[in-house]
Amino acid sequence: MPYDAPSDLETFRQEVRDWLEENCPQSMRTPQPEDEVVWGGRREKFKNPDSKVWLERMAERGWTAPHWPKEYGGGGLDREQVKVLNQEMSRINARIPLHSFGLWMFGPALLEFGNEEQKKRFIPDIIHGRTRWCQGYSEPGAGSDLAGLQTKCEDKGDHYLINGQKVWTSYADQADWIFCLVRTDNTVKHEGISFILFDMASEGVETRPIKLISGSSPFCETFFNDVKVPKDQLVGEVNGGWKIAKRLLQFERSSISASGFGSARGSGMLELEEYAKIHVGTDSDGKLLDGDLRGRIADHQMYTKAFGLTVRRSQEQAKAGQEVGHTASIIKYAAAKMNQDKHELMIEALGTEGLGWEGEGFDKGAKMVTRGWLRSKGNSIEGGTSEINLNVVAKRVLGLRDHQ
């Protein structure tokens, strides 16, 4: 049963602390290796059995989705209480019990746009990590023009029939269900899109992992061939899917830029300037021998510092209740540029040491840099290209209009 939050915040903090002390297994208070991350769903193996216990206990209280309404199994906490919960969790280094597109993207949208029956049916399984969701948005022909999607959804009386193809579907091969944009009217563009849900085990669904220039990836191509979908699995109005899609994109974009493309640190990778010092060499004062490269590294690191300060400024302004749309709009563009510049400089600093793909003869960390360099090229494409970002800044922030 969800916890009944007390009105007094300090009492609440004490209770949370006590509860965590009692219920968070010791192994869940240690740094999480990549392969112990819990995504839930039918295929979840819980490599560490404590992960299962920890997820179940947290989900039982609704604390995997602490601010969602209690009636659907959420924690029902207010903003201040959520903050306390997070503080107490990080105080003991408690792991995040559940990673989930359901929690981060689909759930919030369903709570806003779904009907009562849909919420009852899907939300609790998200909170408990029983259903793993994937997102069926991008299509091969659409690119930046998301609304150009062509996956066809026909009304067959007692069901919908879906035919088409999605691409860049993260973890489609691991997911149980998909939330998906489909075309229900091809005479209009944005107004002909619907938002539909279905089981990835349905007949006619096929997934194929995508290999990137940097190697394997979580992305898939996903094919729908005469997939039958019950009619009660369409969310919102028929042809009313675009506004749901847009809301979801906001969640996605903010999560991409917040993550800062977190490069896989640890595991042998060094900082840019360390690589430069090792491979380019330094003079007796410790200055890099290549003055030209040194200047460009400094330039980049200044940009990085400026970026970090801008993120902090944006947060502080938000806290102070100031308008931050202007600042936020540039974050993704700048983050992509920064991460790409960093990797270009790292590859340059590494010289031939940065040219390894696999096997012996190259430093392990350096090979990660090489893969990371290639992967970073996607930063200015995924979740809205840099060109689209600049358009948005020009139009929404600067108010510049298109040709009239």
Binding site: T282, R294, Y303, A306, L309, R313, E316, H326, L398, R401
Partner: protein
């Protein structure tokens, strides 16, 4: 680190912006130029004094308002917006800081109230070559009976053509290039042996070369400990750099606004030029750089008030970023205005000219990239 202004700071900011907009617009600078004033503006100085701007850093006990660097930064940004030629950087920031950080109690009593009231302006006489180089001082200060005798030459002293007192950095030990062995001296403009060559500069603010020939300075005019001038000089310079970065941010913002306005009103080929995507992307990139620079300047200003230990790094960051941004923006301001931007009649060129002076003062972007790299150990 604080990125949000207090109410007091916001009020000061509004006052300063309104003041420079109304009293010291670019038109005013043009007027000073065309009437041969070479940036010297006694009436302007009087008004700044009345508004208390000279005393922003000076504690109340010395007749200042003691509001700190974030506050001073607002004033600097405002003066940058209109390219106002004022003695604030040299006096309210550098002069006041030098005496606050290096002065004896007697010196503070003597000088700070005069600075706060606008009675005395100061100018730092440091560089001797055409690039900023604090350790490169060769001007000699030789001990004599009751003080020191100074000999040397200083190049491009900002406000040197009208300041009342020079803060001269001279060498009491070692050789040009040594960080140690510098000493700071307060030298009144009218001291024997001081000669001032006024310069007509590209930004119409003016400046001066200084020659010191057997200038006697009494013991009481030594600022801080002899030979240890760098201990005062570095933090003072960093404050100056940060204040100047704030000014540059103001100039960048104003130039960008002018361009932004033009993009939304100028038509070519039947279309507003701001509707051409190539220009939209350029504007969006400039906006991005402005936002990044704003964060650096804010962080650096507040670091001084919070006495953080990364002031030097933030100062170099702010000055270098502001430098890149002000050139990018002021160049594109001319370019996007087209022919009219090339005329003296238009204000675009004033921004571009001033930007190069701002760049050269207290260390160029290249200087500060080098310093940033050094601080970060490579």
């Amino acid at each position: 680190m604080s990125f949000v202004l207090t109410e007091d700071q916001e009020m000061l900011r509004d006052t300063a912006i309104n003041f420079t907009r109304d009293e010291l617009p670019v038109k005013h600078l043009r007027g000073l130029r065309d009437s041969g004033k070479n940036g010297v503006d006694p009436e302007g100085r009087q008004k700044l004094a009345e508004l208390g701007f000279f005393g922003v850093l000076i504690p109340e006990e010395y007749d200042g308002v003691g509001m700190g660097m974030v506050a001073l930064g607002q004033v600097m940004e405002a003066q940058g917006r209109t390219l106002a030629s004022t003695p604030l950087l040299q006096t309210a920031c550098i002069g006041a800081s030098a005496i606050l950080l290096g002065g004896s109690e007697a010196q503070k009593q003597e000088w700070l109230p005069k600075i706060a009231s606008g009675e005395v302006t100061t100018a730092l006489a440091l560089d001797e070559g055409s690039h900023h180089n604090p350790a490169g001082v060769a001007t000699e200060a030789e001990r004599d009976g009751q003080g020191y005798t100074l000999n040397g030459a200083k190049k491009y002293v900002q406000d040197g053509h009208h300041a009342d007192v020079f803060i001269v950095v001279a060498r009491t030990f070692g050789e040009a290039g040594d960080k140690h062995g510098l000493t700071l001296f307060l030298v009144p403009r009218d001291a024997n042996g001081v000669s001032v060559q006024t310069l007509n500069t590209v930004d119409s603010h003016g400046a001066a070369h200084l020659t010191l020939e057997d200038v006697h300075v009494p013991e009481s005019h030594v600022l801080g400990a002899p030979d240890k001038g760098m201990d005062i000089l570095e933090p003072v310079l960093d404050r100056g750099r940060i204040a100047l970065a704030a000014e540059m941010l103001g100039s960048s913002r104003a130039a960008f606004e002018m361009t932004h306005e033009y993009l939304q009103t100028r038509k070519q080929f039947g279309q507003l030029i701001g509707s051409f995507q190539a220009l939209q992307h350029r504007a969006a990139k400039m906006f991005t750089d402005l936002e990044l620079t704003t964060s650096c300047v804010s962080a650096a200003l507040s670091a001084v008030d919070e006495q953080r230990n990364d002031i030097a790094e933030l100062a170099s960051l702010a000055k270098a970023m502001a430098g890149e941004t002000v050139h990018l923006v002021s160049n594109d301001t001319v370019q996007l205005h087209g022919g009219i931007g090339m005329t003296d009649e238009h204000e675009a060129g004033f921004y571009m000219k001033r930007a190069r002076v701002q760049e050269a003062l207290l260390g160029s972007a290249s200087f500060h990239r080098d310093r940033f790299a050094q601080i970060n150990g490579y």
